[in-house]
Symmetry: D2
Subunit: 271 residues, 4 copies
Amino acid sequence: MLIRAGYDIAFETTQAVPMLANLSIHSSRNKDLRTAQRIMTTPDVPIYDYVDSFGNVCTRLTIPAGGITISCGFVIEDPFTPDIVNPDARATPVEALPDDVMMYLLGSRYCETDRLSDTAWALFGRYTPGWELVQAIVTYAHERIRFDYQTARPTKTAWDAHEERQGVCRDFAHLAITLCRCMNIPARYCTGYMGDMDLPAIVGEMDFSAWFDAYLDGTWYTFDARHNYPRAGRILMARGRDATDAALTNTFGPVVLTRFDVYTDENRVPF
Amino acid sequence: MLIRAGYDIAFETTQAVPMLANLSIHSSRNKDLRTAQRIMTTPDVPIYDYVDSFGNVCTRLTIPAGGITISCGFVIEDPFTPDIVNPDARATPVEALPDDVMMYLLGSRYCETDRLSDTAWALFGRYTPGWELVQAIVTYAHERIRFDYQTARPTKTAWDAHEERQGVCRDFAHLAITLCRCMNIPARYCTGYMGDMDLPAIVGEMDFSAWFDAYLDGTWYTFDARHNYPRAGRILMARGRDATDAALTNTFGPVVLTRFDVYTDENRVPF
Amino acid sequence: MLIRAGYDIAFETTQAVPMLANLSIHSSRNKDLRTAQRIMTTPDVPIYDYVDSFGNVCTRLTIPAGGITISCGFVIEDPFTPDIVNPDARATPVEALPDDVMMYLLGSRYCETDRLSDTAWALFGRYTPGWELVQAIVTYAHERIRFDYQTARPTKTAWDAHEERQGVCRDFAHLAITLCRCMNIPARYCTGYMGDMDLPAIVGEMDFSAWFDAYLDGTWYTFDARHNYPRAGRILMARGRDATDAALTNTFGPVVLTRFDVYTDENRVPF
Amino acid sequence: MLIRAGYDIAFETTQAVPMLANLSIHSSRNKDLRTAQRIMTTPDVPIYDYVDSFGNVCTRLTIPAGGITISCGFVIEDPFTPDIVNPDARATPVEALPDDVMMYLLGSRYCETDRLSDTAWALFGRYTPGWELVQAIVTYAHERIRFDYQTARPTKTAWDAHEERQGVCRDFAHLAITLCRCMNIPARYCTGYMGDMDLPAIVGEMDFSAWFDAYLDGTWYTFDARHNYPRAGRILMARGRDATDAALTNTFGPVVLTRFDVYTDENRVPF
């Protein structure tokens, strides 16, 4: 299936402000592109990409005084099959984890494994390490947190979300990730486009979504504590230890976000 | 100057526990070795190293039921000159920072840049970005925190240390790092051996030390908010965004540390 | 199955000579170690490892004037199953190859794809791209070259081996690799220990072996143009584009190899 | 100084042909861009970049049946100062070379160090390792080879160029690189734009140029055996062990190059 996706984002600023951003699809999806994916800016400014250690395509540019509009659109092929469910997947023992997976057991800015470890073992110590355990964690996070856009804040951590019991999709992900790591299951944060066949695609009323991967039986499996059921059409943009590594934009100075339109549309592809 | 350094560490455990550890000097110091640096264990268990994206030599092993002793000793050449002081160093503008330095501007587990940003700008906004600014931050952290081994805890963050006003060397480093990042100065956490010419070298009464690097004028400069004066004889073991990336040991199960002897000795080298 | 393996190598030299060497098992096999794998030297000299972009563990040391003995022994777990045969494996189309596999289509020191391309297409153009094609290439190389230790020389390339029709195991590998690349099948050179159940294990009469991997259907498969049948017990030490990347030792000055004992023994493991 | 540079390249083909190309400036120059650098194709096809281990920005696309035009233009800031001359630079001893520099001492496809080693030591053994030695090698290569476009061929190696005594800029580079490596001086191949203040800039009559870097005293210095004097305005596109790693395009199927216009122009920048 072909999906057309893209965004239109604008910032206002009174001075030049350097920006580091994840504005492209993740490098692991490059081969699925069916058009070029060119980031255009108004005004046209110098811009370049590099790839970080997570495979994220990081874009650097400086927002000129006055502001900038950044837009991108592309067509990508996607199987549009729901997330794989494999109840037989077992946890890989820590000593058998690949070296480059080990970091996903440690704490990070929004995932305070040290603070939630006792809670995790009390809640989940009785589960067999594997799919059943991760699913129990996902359901717990799904039920623990009430979705509420009003309570979103950049400083909210897994601990905070667990205590306050409300949050947005990134908080659901951070809580589930943290609990997985406490139980010695590597987990990583993911963000990207996610179309929704359940709903009419309404251009301009979408946001990037957050979900996570858990490492079981030598494979990364996708889980979504916000929705807690298998979804189709995820187009990964960035991943990492938590939202710090996968932030859409980091700006190093005062800016105001004045437009944020994101769209994915699996129906309107003109092929 | 030749320095003899090493450690002797023991853990007790009732079951096999996987471990990930930074037990070697940092790869950037390998060329200064004047002997081999072999990690020996009792009992003798499978053990291997990999190098992470920070250049840290990470060791993986499984502590067998009953426990383990890990020891290492080596001789290294060191200029034993105090940390460089360069008051003329200017901050590199964010847009000119190398791509691989950008991550050291972001938040991390123990460095909540988002929570300390307002404090940082209120305190340090009037300084010229560069050496003077970093030194002001170091002095502030040095004076803000009272050194107290009793208050050490693994969950303590820069924010916590700032509020509680007490901590150990890693808390001094985390606070200074966080304030630097808030002011758009990249900063990274360092840990390693540090001899002390001021004091008689007393084998067995030393600990690994923590300090940090700030990036100015295209170079990483060493700062030490715990001591707040230039020191000689630092032998880097690990560095990263904060203590998470540079932990001496991460154990994935219950263990008890029963011995922790670290030594550096610039006098007793038999050459 | 447990395999005991190791080596005992000695060099004589009249002056200090720097060395770069592949003296450890490949990092992909580290988890299979059942003992530590420590490289010991006589005399005891500074020595350290780094890992190159191929995952090879590269050792640096300087041979002191007079010479050195280097030895290592370890026990490793190995399935001891023959190389996988999968006649259904299809070639991955070039446009679908992962980015980090592309380099294995290009020429290299001992694999002159540009010189052998016409030969390759004339001989193998009629085969279906996939297992059948690679197997035809392996059989061709196996029959084209007569094994002859006397004709080994460090400068011999795939082209040379094809013309001269004699060589050693590395020449068989280079020729097959080159022909695979000409046909748009990525191929990489491998070297390591290889036990032989067909023969009594005779310590001191073994050499490191060379074989290669071809990339089909998203997987690297092992092929051996020297033997041309599936073998068990390969313990990879190094791999790369050709023997340049996987040389046992590179010495930067005049040395004489005075001992070279390699052993693997699947029978004598004392467990 | 601002330089406007770019290219316009066309291929004809009767079938779809995958391509791997170095069509962007090297990542080390990204910060000097004063406009975006977007590669456009006619027809518009899927295209993406990755960065290889040399920092080269590698582009992947498939030329559709019928052919393609690829073009790019950008403005870059350049000091336009001649290559640095530092006769005091000493060779870094092999044992002190950084780990990631070691590969530039080894042989590669077009640089047969093993075949030219005796020649190198006979010719240059008497020179002090350092600038003087590299300059002697550059002068030797410059004089040994007669520039002749007619004799260019993709299979020509340093050895071939040395024997045939004619070649193009890449052959000058390969010969000098090989001789440097034989003398234990790391050397790497470079290709890119090079403006020429000596000549009127004639759009469409330029080619990419090849030069090389030698590693002395901890720094890579630029040398040019084709011209043998310091030049200004080099804009690096790709570098590596030799022309294999830095090929403008690798095509995996039959294509005909029908246009190849490259320009740099330091006079016509409209700023």
